[in-house]
Symmetry: C2
Subunit: 636 residues, 2 copies
């Protein structure tokens, strides 16, 4: 399949067109949308809807408003997006302005390319975002630094509107007023749709202007696609000298493509389809045709000739043959247990679809509590429910669930109630979204919560067992760590396998070394490594699936390593604080009389962004990397 993008020279031509500023900017934004669509399609994932809703705003700021230094990293006015997931749109503006190497257009979500969420490693990116609600705080830090350094620069922060459900947004407002930080202008990309559906259905924002004004900010509002009106708001803000300003820009999610703009059918059953992920081939063609038609019409109106474009083939995507889908299995297990346990209630943080909660919500709407993007609130609500005899099952992505409400896990633990937490999108993969979304620190930060058992299942079958254990067997609270990507696994659990607290199960037999791991991604690498060690080096590796992340049965461990000189652990997590550290320390406590060699594999650097396989390779965690490393260690 061929994909189309607008080359740099064409964007440069448009930027220099001798015409009305607004028309020029609008045309540029249309072309940037074409390139954004290309980038997301080529990457296989990315956020179209909010890239498009913010495109006119970002284009205007960069083309007409900001005082930019030539060197993208040098001093000048500052812009960044707090929501961060509109990165593809943002990159396409920077690419069109020549502020990024244009060849990077082909490298969205690729290793050493343009990260899925903004990272300061990319020239011109001012701060790392992707975790919601942090932008204004960051801007305040920059403004205070500029003041200490006698520098002058305006700071523009774009936020989402779903993002306004995060407490930190509101936490960050007062001191900006208290300190009179008038150099900060916030623009809310108010497209009214959050990850799943309409904000008004999830957790309504109410009277936004009244709220923001009450916090003491100067507030103004416009149609975020009407550049005349937007520029007037910017002028108004520039004249305010005593306090920060907010522009509420009413926008349309998916702006520029009719079927992405259409929200007439949205409700809790019909979710918005273009928040994240690449479109289908058919949708890509329709969207691209619409954008091209629109650009051509604008060019024609300006008498500016026809539109030059280039084509590139869609990179082949890896084929997943018969994958294990852990979220699907979880979704079924949740409904099954809920049927038997009327006290079970589900809490969601605006990730109903991604966490597999739709079947539950359809079946038990009265027991489904949508909390919006408000993780601290959600985990405290769970605490309140549990104190009254409800069994709350709390959902978000692992990267957010384990961190934002970290203290709240502990508070709940001190009340000794039982709560089940389910963190999806766990581990290094998918690696396209980048480190804000790669949860590789959650074992470390939850292991020491008293009375909390951490489990990561490796297959659909083990998901069902783990959730059954969580609901019906465990007295402890549970953190269930779920890999979200469908994954081909080259192993099977034994037919008679049962979960036993602190004990694992052998997946491959071998006499030369033993490796402990968990979850579909790393057990797959371990089993592949076992095959390679056998075939290429004549070494036998016993691979053990140990789904218990913060507890191991000492007797079982002793018998599992007995006779082995080489012991390996493999974490889908930082080596520091992972399962391997727990196992290593337990080995040290075991009074072993025989000597052994322990080596821990896992992540030791900030996770890379890229295709799943290239990132596994970059961290030397593919089967072949592990096989080579283990062979070297054994043969040394």
């Amino acid at each position: 399949m061929e994909l189309t993008y607008i080359p740099y020279k064409e964007l440069e031509r448009i930027r220099k067109l001798d015409c009305n500023t607004i028309e020029r900017t609008q045309l540029f934004a249309t072309l940037a949308r074409i390139n954004t669509l290309y980038m997301i399609m080529q990457a296989g994932s990315g956020h179209i809807g909010s890239s498009f809703s913010a495109m006119d705003i970002v284009s205007w700021l960069y083309m007409n408003e900001m005082d930019l230094a030539d060197d993208p990293d040098a001093h000048g006015d500052v812009y960044f997006s707090s929501k961060g997931h509109d990165a593809p749109g943002y990159y396409s503006v920077l690419l069109g302005l020549g502020r990024l190497e244009f060849c990077q257009i082909h490298e969205l979500r690729r290793l050493n390319g343009l990260p899925g969420h903004p990272d300061v490693i990319t020239p011109g990116i001012q701060t790392n975002t992707g975790s919601l609600g942090t932008g204004i705080s960051k801007a305040k830090g920059m403004a205070l630094a500029h003041r200490l350094q006698d520098k002058k620069a305006r700071i523009f922060v774009l936020t989402g509107d779903g993002e306004l459900q995060e407490g930190q947004f509101w936490e960050s407002l007062p001191s900006a007023v208290h300190q009179g930080l008038n150099e900060i202008t916030v623009i809310i990309d108010h497209n009214k749709i959050q990850s799943d559906t309409l904000l008004s259905l999830v957790n309504d924002l109410g009277n936004l202007e009244a709220k923001l004004s009450a916090f003491g900010w100067h507030v103004t509002r416009c149609d975020g696609h009407d550049l005349q009106a937007f520029s007037a708001c910017l002028e108004e803000c520039k004249a305010i000298t005593d306090r920060p300003q907010i522009i509420i820009a009413d926008t349309i999610k998916g702006r520029g493509v009719s079927f992405m703009e259409d929200i007439s059918t949205l409700d809790l059953d019909n979710l918005y389809q273009f928040h994240s992920g690449a479109p289908s081939a058919e949708d890509y063609i329709r969207a691209n045709d619409e954008l091209f038609a629109s650009a051509s019409e604008q060019l024609q109106k300006l008498g500016a000739g026809s539109l030059e474009s280039e084509q590139r083939s869609l990179l082949p995507r890896p084929v997943v043959e018969d994958p294990q889908r852990l979220i699907g299995a979880y979704s079924r297990a949740l409904v099954e247990q809920a049927e038997k346990r009327p006290e079970l209630a589900v809490l969601d943080g605006d990730l109903m679809l991604d966490c597999g909660l739709i079947p539950f919500r359809e079946k038990f709407p009265e027991r489904f509590i949508e909390c919006g993007i408000a993780e601290q609130d959600m985990v405290s609500i769970a605490g309140g429910l549990a104190l009254r005899g409800v069994l709350p099952v709390v959902h978000s992505f692992a990267c957010f669930l384990s961190t934002r409400p970290n203290e709240h896990f502990y508070i709940n633990a001190t009340e000794k109630t039982k709560i089940i937490y389910v963190g999806s999108l766990a581990g290094l993969l998918p690696s396209g979204p980048g480190h804000s979304h790669q949860s590789v620190r959650d074992i470390a930060i939850l292991s020491a919560v008293p009375g909390l058992t951490l489990i990561e299942p490796c297959s659909e079958a083990e998901v069902a067992m783990a959730f059954d254990y969580s609901v019906n067997v465990s007295q402890n609270s549970i953190y269930l760590r779920l890999v979200s990507i469908p994954y081909d696994i080259p192993f099977q659990l034994p037919a008679d396998y049962q979960l036993e607290y602190g004990k694992g199960v052998v997946l491959t037999e071998g006499d030369d070394a033993v490796m402990f791991s968990y979850g579909p991604v790393m057990l797959t690498q371990a089993v592949k490594a076992a095959e390679l060690l056998k075939d290429e080096h004549g070494l036998g590796l016993r691979v053990i699936n140990l789904p218990w992340l913060n507890h191991v049965d000492a007797d079982w461990l002793r018998s599992s390593v007995e006779g082995f000189k080489y012991i390996f652990t493999l974490d889908n997590h930082f080596v520091k604080g992972g399962q391997g550290e727990m196992l290593g320390c337990k080995l040290a406590e075991m009074d072993s009389t025989s000597s052994y060699h322990l080596h821990r594999f896992g992540i030791s650097e900030i996770p890379e962004c890229g295709l799943n396989d290239e990132v596994l390779q970059a961290h030397e965690l593919r089967g072949i990397d592990l096989s080579n490393s283990m062979n070297s260690i054994i043969k040394d």
Copy 2:
């Protein structure tokens, strides 16, 4: 010294007085203030100011408003304080109503007594608070549970006003409206003073009524000491059937004692003196006399006889001879480094006094950034500052700093800037405030932040070295973990001691076993244990101070344990995820050919509240406990 309290029979008599409800409640509240003062004086610490500002409100709710079940744990209307530190006042109301065993009046902040902050272990306490901003979320959880269970109960939540700086307060507001939770009534104890000084100086709340109304809550306001007005507000709230309500109760911190009410001299240099901690003997007597005079006058007015009271001696407080004061040493080190490093700026989360920041603020006011009770905002501001070349030094209590902004540490880490974080009040002691304030999980949850080095110094001298290292030597970001209580230490660092990354220093020599620990509290226990082992059991213990919490030099460790069969670690932290786990795993990786026995000491249960020595004993961490345990292990 004799302390005075009002016995139960007298409180019961007042509750049954045949007089006007308001006068009866006011009198009860005055007596409850006397008992609160007694409890705090006897405990040696506790929060007077906000106990007194909320006393009329709490008394009214319990005596006249709430539908209470006889069994304090049974179903009925719910009240709890979200701020939690007003617990002594709250307890004194429950004691006066016979809802707590009256003998508990002598047991504030004692083992198995009344915890420093509310805990559900105490009859009638509905939820654990002490970490700010969580109350409304908890109330929502309870309300949703009641609805699922077809129960009817009103839920009253008291919040502080400084607490409104926490994002979670605002995060929790919208869904209560979205879900129409009219059974929730929030009362803001609006005394205008937070931990250190006036809110208006720290981070002004602005137009509070406008803010809360804009969030869609029903808002009403009254003088929180005018019970007629307060009761009218409650009536108004009761009539609202479609949404939750907030009463802004204007109160006076320290209400009832003239010199505790006096805020005429408060500013950033003159802080409020009665937020936490016991008063001086002189202040106690003055305050008690005033409250007695007031009670007697009220009684006389009602023709209700004279006031019966009882006395009890002030328990002797442990004498600290010549303690190490780490916060003081830090305070000096901070100013010293700041003089040399103009790019160093200080951020504070409303704990200027407790974190030792006043000398810095006085000397470098332009480099002092007061963030208020807003830890996520503060750590993100630090991130913004660091991106612009400032060296931010960020302060709060370890329990809050390591948890609330946990994700924000990681975001900053991914930007690879350098930031120094200083968490005071670290570890098990002081144990009076209870588990919300005992930071015993911070090593586990920060160890895996990439590029972050964790250090805990054990003495004033080591504090200066550690901060010098943090500012001038380390390329990494630093988390400096500080014990706040003055502590007598029975050891000295060698005169030529220098900090070396990942290496420690021997404090006592011995041939039979080696113990690794850190910080003044646990090294003291270790050295005492060494003395006892020698004197009573003839065993020699090498005690090593290893201030590096998440890194150890492998060669140094190898040589430190060489020849030892018994290796012990001692954490001022949960055993899980502490320094001992890091050391244990490193030992396992060392290919030791000799066998050894490893045992880790530390905290394994939720920390107890109580006097420091009784809590050390409860966790079996005193020198004598350790000595006995080690002797058993060695002799086994």
